[in-house]
Homo-oligomer: 249 residues x 2
C-alpha cells in the first residue's frame, strides 16, 4: 500500500545496475498477477543491451530515460506461445481475433502493474512509456516479435536520481460512479477540473504554449487528433499483421 | 510485495459488508496508478445494489460471486469526461479513435490492478471477471454508460470465505525474453508445459472432459474459436457504438 500511494514516475536514473536476483524477484511478482484462464498470454522482453536500447529510443520519441535506465521492459500481448502449445497438442487454436488481443493485453497490463509496484517496493523507480502502442510496428522489428505478439506498453526501470513531487490527481468523485454511471453536468466538469486549472503550473504552461485553456494544450499539442488518427492506423495495421483481426469463422 | 505474492482469486465471500472508509481508501489507491498524460481517462462504477448486481449476473455468465460479493467494480475506458471538459474549454477533442480506446483501457487496467493489490493488502479478496468484454454491450445498458465509455474489466470484492491454494504458473523462462524475443522451439514448449500437464488436476480434467490433451480443453471447451469470434464482433460493435472507431481525419 505504501508503494502504491507513493508512486511517482521517475525519468532520471542513477548509473547503478539492478542486481539480477532483485530483477528476477520483481519479474516473478509480475507472474503472480491475475490472468485469464491461467493462460498467461503475455511476454516480457527485458532489454539491458545499450545498442538495443538505442534502437528503441526513437520509438519512444527520444526520451533519454530509455537509454539512461539500466532496464527497459516491453510488455507484450502474446498468443504465440499458447498457439504453439495448442498445435503441438493436437488442438486447434482460435485466438487470431480481436477479443484474444484484448484478453492478452489485459494479462500483459496486470503483470506490468504488479512489476511496477514490486519494483517501487524495492526502492526502484519506474516510468511507463505510452509511446509503445504509437510505434508498435517498429518495436516489433527491433525486438523480433513474431506473429501473435504485440507490444502494449513498456516501462523503464532503475534507481531514481530525482524525487519529484506526487502528481496531482482529479478529486475522487471525478472517477467514481455509485451503482451506475452518473454523467457529468457542466457544473460537475467545472468543479472536477477547478483545482488543476488553478495550479501555478497550469498558468505557466498556458503562457509557454500561448493557449487560453489547459484543455487546448492537450488537444492541440500533447494528444492531437492528427497524431491519434495516425497512431490508430499503425496499431490497427499491427493487429492485422500480427494475426489478431481474423474476426470471422 | 506480500500482497502481490499471495494473490489468489476468491470466488466465495462472507456476508460482511465493506466499510465505506476502507472502500474509499482502496479506490484512492487506484487513482494513484500511472495514467497517460495524467488524463485519468477511466471511470470505476461501484455497484452494491443487489438488484443491479442481479442484472449484471447473466453478463458474467451467472457466476454466483457477482451477487454474493458485497461490491462489484466495473472498470471503464472513459473519454467522456475528458471530451466534455475539452468542449467546455474551447478545445476540440480528437479522441474518437482506436488509439484513444487503447490508451483509456491501459489507464483503467493499471488502476484496477492497484485497487486489487490494495484490497488484498487490507485482507479483502478479489476476482477479475473476464466476461466483461464479452458482454460489454449489455453492461453498457445496465450501467448506463454514455458514448466515450467502454467497460474493459470488472472485479468482485469482499471478505474471503475460502482460502484456495496458490495457482500454478508457468516457469519464468516461459514469459521472460532476454534483450529481444527468443521464439520457442518444440522442445521449449514441451518443457514449459511439462509440470502443468503432469499435475493430478490435469489428469482429472482430461477424464472429466474426455479429451486427450489439456490444450484441447482450452480450444474446444473454455475458449473456443466460435465464442472468441462472437465476442470479437460484440466488442468491435461496442467500439463503433461508443465512438472509438473514427480512424480518419
Amino acid at each position: 500500500m505504501k508503494a502504491i500511494l507513493s508512486h511517482r514516475s521517475i525519468r532520471k536514473f542513477k548509473n547503478t545496475p539492478i542486481d539480477e536476483s532483485l530483477l528476477n524477484d520483481i519479474l516473478y511478482a509480475g507472474s503472480r498477477a491475475s490472468t485469464t484462464g491461467n493462460m498467461q498470454v503475455y511476454s516480457i522482453v527485458v532489454t539491458k543491451d545499450q545498442s538495443i536500447k538505442e534502437q528503441l529510443l526513437p520509438c519512444h520519441f527520444g526520451q533519454e530515460m530509455v537509454t539512461q535506465a539500466p532496464v527497459v521492459l516491453t510488455f507484450c500481448a502474446d498468443f504465440n506461445r499458447f498457439n504453439k502449445w495448442c498445435i503441438q497438442r493436437d488442438a486447434t487454436p482460435g485466438y487470431d481475433n480481436f477479443l484474444s488481443f484484448i484478453t492478452a493485453s489485459i494479462d500483459a497490463l496486470l503483470a506490468a502493474q504488479n512489476i511496477c509496484i514490486a519494483a517501487e517496493d524495492k526502492g526502484l523507480g519506474i516510468c511507463y512509456l505510452g509511446t509503445t502502442t504509437y510505434t508498435a510496428d517498429k518495436i516489433i522489428d527491433i525486438l523480433k516479435l513474431p506473429k501473435g505478439v504485440v507490444p502494449i506498453t513498456a516501462v523503464v526501470l532503475g534507481y531514481p536520481d530525482e524525487k519529484p513531487e506526487l502528481t496531482d490527481r482529479l478529486p475522487m468523485p471525478a472517477i467514481i460512479h455509485r451503482e451506475v454511471y452518473q454523467d457529468y453536468s457542466e457544473g460537475d466538469i467545472d468543479q472536477i477540473y477547478a483545482a488543476r486549472e488553478a495550479m501555478p503550473l497550469t498558468k505557466k504552461l498556458l503562457k509557454e504554449n500561448k493557449k487560453e485553456t489547459l484543455a487546448q494544450i492537450f488537444t492541440d499539442n500533447r494528444y492531437s487528433k492528427k497524431d491519434n488518427v495516425t497512431f490508430s492506423k499503425v496499431l490497427l495495421y499491427v493487429l492485422h499483421k500480427q494475426g489478431f483481426m481474423n474476426n470471422d469463422m
